[in-house]
Structures are given as structure tokens and as C-alpha cells.
């Protein structure tokens, strides 16, 4: 039973940059169970259950189609507008929901945070990963719509997992910042809806990114959702492929904010129980 005893060392953390990934790996079961709990609790009390995961993007797609396509007459790269909008709403809904859930996750779990140790990174991580079920359901409707509009997938669909991965990483990067900041600055709860609203219109959801003038594309692509949404559209409904240079810029933004976000989060995490 008693193997070589593990040593737990408790001391003030010194390093400025520490990702603590090993601790997260040791607690991977907790990660899974927290995500599983949220799902089970979320859907056990609603009659419609998982259907809600579809309804929100579906409803937004209908509204956008009426307003931005029928009334404002925005172009959609030659794709039927409902398909055009929904292909963007699938990753966007995942991203915005993740921000919303993970951003408040640390404060929502304050009872655990103040009573027991585990790597705090687990909390926003599980909230981000838990949204993947909703993503999968929303994606099923995407498939149905593609069949309806007679758009059939090509080999490009194989690249979709890559885009999904960077969507997850982008969500996580922003969530880490938000959740750590929210512990200290409760104003974040008021800022969150505004942030998500602005971010949505700064991403090519209701309009094609080709509408942005060429000289602004560099600045525009600092928003990683631009590359992600273009990638989803390209892989699913065959809009023009994203510019590789701009995609690289998107990925760079994500990587930098994710690494800094993790380091910032871990630094703040040491004081969560003091401040919360």
C-alpha cells in the first residue's frame, strides 16, 4: 500500500511563470467529473433537456437571416444566408457560452475553493470543456441544414477538428483572464455582456470578413474568432479559404494570450481563497 511517500511542500510561490500542468494532469479525473456534474445537473432539470443547446443558435440564425439578409441585404459569399450565419454561430455560441460560464466559474465554485485543495485551473477548464456537448448538438443541426440546402461536405471537413481545437484554446485563454479577474473585480459581471456583444460584431458572423478593407485585415485578425469562423465556414460550406498568414496571426494571438492567461491565473489562484 505505502509506496515511496510523496512529499507535499507548502511554501510561498516564487516563480512568476508557472503553468502547473502536472498538477492538472494528476487531477484529470476531477476535471472530467466536474464537467460531467455540470452537464447532468444542467439537463436533469429542464424538460427540453439538450434541445436548448440547439434552440439558441437556431433562433439567432433566424433573426440574423431576417434582419441582416432580408432587410439589410448583407452579402454572404454566395452561400444561402441561413447556412452562412449558422456555420459561424456554431463556434461562436460555444465561445461566448464558454466565456460566460468559465468567467464566473471560480466565484461559482467558491465553496470548493475555500474548503479544499485542487489545481484551480481545473475549474475554468472543466467549464470550457463541458460546453463541448452543446457544441456537438448544435453541430448536428448544422449537418441537417447542410443536407437541406444540398451542401455536401468535402475533404475539408477533416480539417475541422483543428479549428475546433483552436476554438477551445481561444475560449480557454479568454476565460482564464476573465475568471481570475472576476474574483477581484466584481465589475466584470456588468462588463461581460457588453464584451460579448462587441466581440460578436467584431467577428464575421453576420457579414463576410471580405467586407473589411484590405488595409484593416491585419488589425482585424488580431481577433482570433475571425480565423476560426472563416475556417469553420470554409470547412463546412466552402467559402474562400482563410489567408494562411492571417490564420498564423490568429494562432499567435491565441498562444500568447493562453500562456500569459495561464500564468496570470496561477498567480492569482494562490490568493483566490483569501479574496473570494
Amino acid at each position: 500500500m505505502r509506496q515511496s511517500p510523496a512529499v507535499v511542500v507548502i511554501e510561498p510561490s516564487r516563480s512568476w511563470f508557472d503553468l502547473k500542468l502536472k498538477a492538472v494532469w494528476d487531477y484529470r479525473e476531477l476535471l472530467y467529473f466536474l464537467a460531467w456534474r455540470d452537464l447532468k445537473a444542467r439537463y436533469s432539470q429542464t424538460v427540453m433537456g439538450l434541445a436548448w443547446a440547439v434552440l439558441q443558435p437556431l433562433f439567432m440564425m433566424l433573426v440574423f437571416t431576417v434582419i441582416f439578409s432580408k432587410i439589410a441585404r448583407l452579402p454572404s459569399d454566395g452561400i444561402p444566408y441561413p447556412l452562412f450565419a449558422y456555420a459561424a454561430l456554431v463556434p461562436w455560441t460555444y465561445f461566448s457560452k464558454s466565456l460566460d460560464r468559465s468567467g464566473f466559474s471560480i466565484v461559482a465554485e467558491s465553496n470548493l475553493i475555500t474548503k479544499i485543495y485542487f489545481p484551480r485551473l481545473i475549474v475554468p477548464l472543466s467549464a470550457t470543456l463541458g460546453g463541448l456537448i452543446d457544441f456537438a448538438i448544435a453541430f448536428l443541426l448544422m449537418v441537417v441544414m447542410m443536407v437541406w440546402f444540398g451542401v455536401f461536405p468535402t475533404w475539408k471537413l477533416m480539417v475541422l477538428p483543428f479549428y475546433l481545437l483552436i476554438t477551445i484554446l481561444a475560449s480557454l485563454a479568454v476565460s482564464l483572464w476573465l475568471s481570475a479577474l472576476f474574483v477581484k473585480y466584481r465589475d466584470i459581471s456588468a462588463l461581460m455582456p457588453i464584451l460579448i456583444q462587441i466581440w460578436m460584431f467584431a467577428s464575421p458572423i453576420v457579414y463576410p470578413s471580405s467586407m473589411i478593407p484590405q488595409e484593416w485585415q491585419g488589425l482585424y485578425n488580431i481577433n482570433p474568432m475571425v480565423g476560426i469562423i472563416n475556417g469553420f465556414r470554409w470547412a463546412l460550406v466552402g467559402t474562400p479559404a482563410p489567408d494562411p498568414a492571417l490564420l498564423a496571426l490568429n494562432i499567435l494571438t491565441i498562444a500568447v494570450s493562453l500562456l500569459l492567461g495561464m500564468a496570470y491565473f496561477n498567480r492569482r489562484a494562490n490568493t483566490f481563497a483569501d479574496v473570494i
Partner: protein, 444 residues
Amino acid sequence: MGDIAIRVEHLSKKYEIVMGNSRGHSGLAEEMTQGVRRMLGMGGGAGSSSLRREEIWPVRDVSFEVQCGEIVGIIGRNGAGKSTLLKILSRIIEPTSGRAQMYGRVGTLLEVGMGFHPQLTGRDNIYLSGIIYGMKKQEIDKRFDEIVAFSGVEKYIDTPVKRYSSGMYVRLAFAVGAHMDCEVLIVDEALAVGDSQFQKKCLDKMHDMGEHGRTVLFVSHNMDAVTRLCKRVILLDQGKVIADGSSHEVVGTYMHVGASSVRGFKEWTDLTTAPGDDVARLCAVRVKTINGRIADVIDIRRTFAIEVEIEVLKPGWVLTPNLEFYSDGEGCLFESFDMDPVWRSRSRPVGRYVSTAWVPGNLLSEGAHFVTVHCVSIDPFRIMIKVEEVVGFRVVDNYEGDSARGDFTGEMVGVVRPMLKWATQFVPRQESANIERGERGTGL
């Protein structure tokens, strides 16, 4: 054995309290305006000068070591730093300086039912809570039946826990915590509140763990539980360790930290101000163990003495010292008169007298006790000396199985705790019928 399980070196925790901001969460706007002020060289402007920063040290320079298999109690008053220390050792908060090392798997039980979700079933919650306590899924699989049996909620294991009674809920929650497998367990007394059966299970389990070579750190201000469970106790006051030793000594020290300073002896060196009158004055009262040592803490099983020293200033009186025993919050338990045959009916010459009353072991119950001393003349009746609650002591039960509590570790009721002679005989069924008939027969 003999290995170190916990080593704590100069552990400190500092908080900075900003006076005038009791919310704890700083406003984003507030901090931004301050930042802008600082950038513009307006530091020390009107806004920042009204905020006074104050340092507090809930834990300051704490060091101790715990051997494998030891059960150590940490006591102290509210605000002494117990829970801060507990949270540092549980890795919930970080120390400001210093270092602690723990060898082996560390389990912390600051609260039962961590992570329980009302919507989920008992089964789901066992897994969830177990994982949160740091168990592996495989371990839970293996011990699942054991946990369910321990909790006694087999029938409802697939019912959402929101439908459980509060008793069932607590039993299930505790069952999970009790099956944690670890070498070092850190437990908060918050656990030991609740119904007495639950408390007992809790203490039993901890005692059990100690027997199996596990190390337990038990944080509490329930003195009786601490002495019952722990041989060694660490006393904290204002964030510092002020005593570390056997539970008897430390619990004794604890009693005179702070306001109440009633202790095991009281002496008056100046006879003119000592309590009493022109006939007799009280010089000293002492609580002594059977070995003659002055003590504040008495083992429940041991005989001890109350010693009363009196100076007689005027001859010609038959004097009778008298003691009244009070237990904390329970009123007077009994009183007793000096029955020494030599001085019982003889008037005392001037001089000093020491009367000793032996109180048998297994009489008083656990807890704080106080003694009121009188010295009277019975005929004619006159009170020469009367000092209320002049000395105090604490009766403790170390739970070694030979006190009146036997193997029971929970709270016991009653103001006295005599050891009764018990005998139990096994009576086979047939014989019992005979005995019944036989008894009835003799009755006729």
C-alpha cells in the same frame, strides 16, 4: 514509526487590511483612478490618503513537527490562527513566508459533503465528492459498497440527494470522507458538530486512523474532544505557538490564557489582606495530584486533593473547613465538611493548619470545575472565611478505555461520572423462560 509526517518551519501568513474598505473586493474603477493618479504623479492624493493599510498576522512564525502515527490537537481561542494554519496546511491558502512539508498522501476534511450536488443521485455524489477529496475513481469503485453500507442509505442510493432527509444527507456525506485513504489527515472541528452519533462516528474514525499509523491533525476548541483524542496538543495564541506538549499540560495552559484566570492554586502572602476575619484567614488553596504536584488538569480516573491552608489568629473556636464543588454551567455538585477526628470537636490554638480533602477518581465528569472554600464554626454558627470559586481545574478523559466511558468517544451527559460495577451474563432462551417462571414463583 519514528518517521516525520509533518514538518512546519517558520510558517507565517500576513494580510493587509485596507481600512475603510470592508467589502474586500476592490472596485475596478477605483483601482483604475488610483492607477491614473499614480501615473500623473498625484500619488497621495485625496483618494488614497483616506485609505489606511494595516498588517495583520493570523499565523506568525509557527514551527512544529509531527511524527507518523501521532494524533495532534491544535487548540486556541477564536482568532488565534487555528483555521488560518489549517487552511495553509490544507493548501487552500498560501503562506506569506516559511515552509511546511508533509510526507505521504494528505487528506483534508474541513467540511463533509464537499461538492455534493442536490440534483444528482447518492451514487453520483459519492463519486463526485470522493474525487474532490482526492480519491481516484478506481478506489471509489472498490470501496463503493463499503461507503454505501456505512452510510445506511442503500435503498435511496439512486435518488437525488435533494430528496434526502438532512440526517441521511450528512450520513452519506460523512461516509465518503471517512473512506478517504491517506497517510496524513487534517480535520477541522466543524466536523464534530452535529448530532452526537455523528460526532462519535467521527471521533471513532479518527482514533482508528491513529491506531493504524495514520497521522491526524485535529483542529478544535472542544477541549474535551481534544484531550480524549490527542496525546499531544499545540496551543496557538495570536498566531503563535505558545505551548506544545502533552494534552494535560497544554490544556492547563490554555485555561489561563486570556480573561479567566482561575487556576489550580491561589495563595495570599499578606495575611492582613487575605480573605477571612479576626479569627481565621485563608492562606492558600491548592489542587494537587496524588503525587503532590499542583495541577490545573486532572485525569478523570485519578484521585486528587484539594488543600486548604488556614492561619488561625484567635484561639477558642472549633473550626470546620468546607468545600463546595461547582461544575461549569451546571451549578453546585456537592459540598463536603472537614471530618478529621482530631480537630472535629476541639478548639484550635493559634497557628497554621493544612486540611486536605481527597476527591476520588471516577467521580467528576469531564470539563471545568471550580471550588468554593468556607471555614465555619458550626456551634455557634459563624462564617469566618468564604471565597467563591477560588480554584479551578479541568477534568479530562484521555480515552484509554478504562474510564467510565468505556469505548464510547462521544459527548456523555450527567454532572458526575462514577464508575459502576457492571456484570452481564448470557442467558440462553430456554433458561430465560425458566428464570422468569422461577422469579414469579419466588414472588408468590
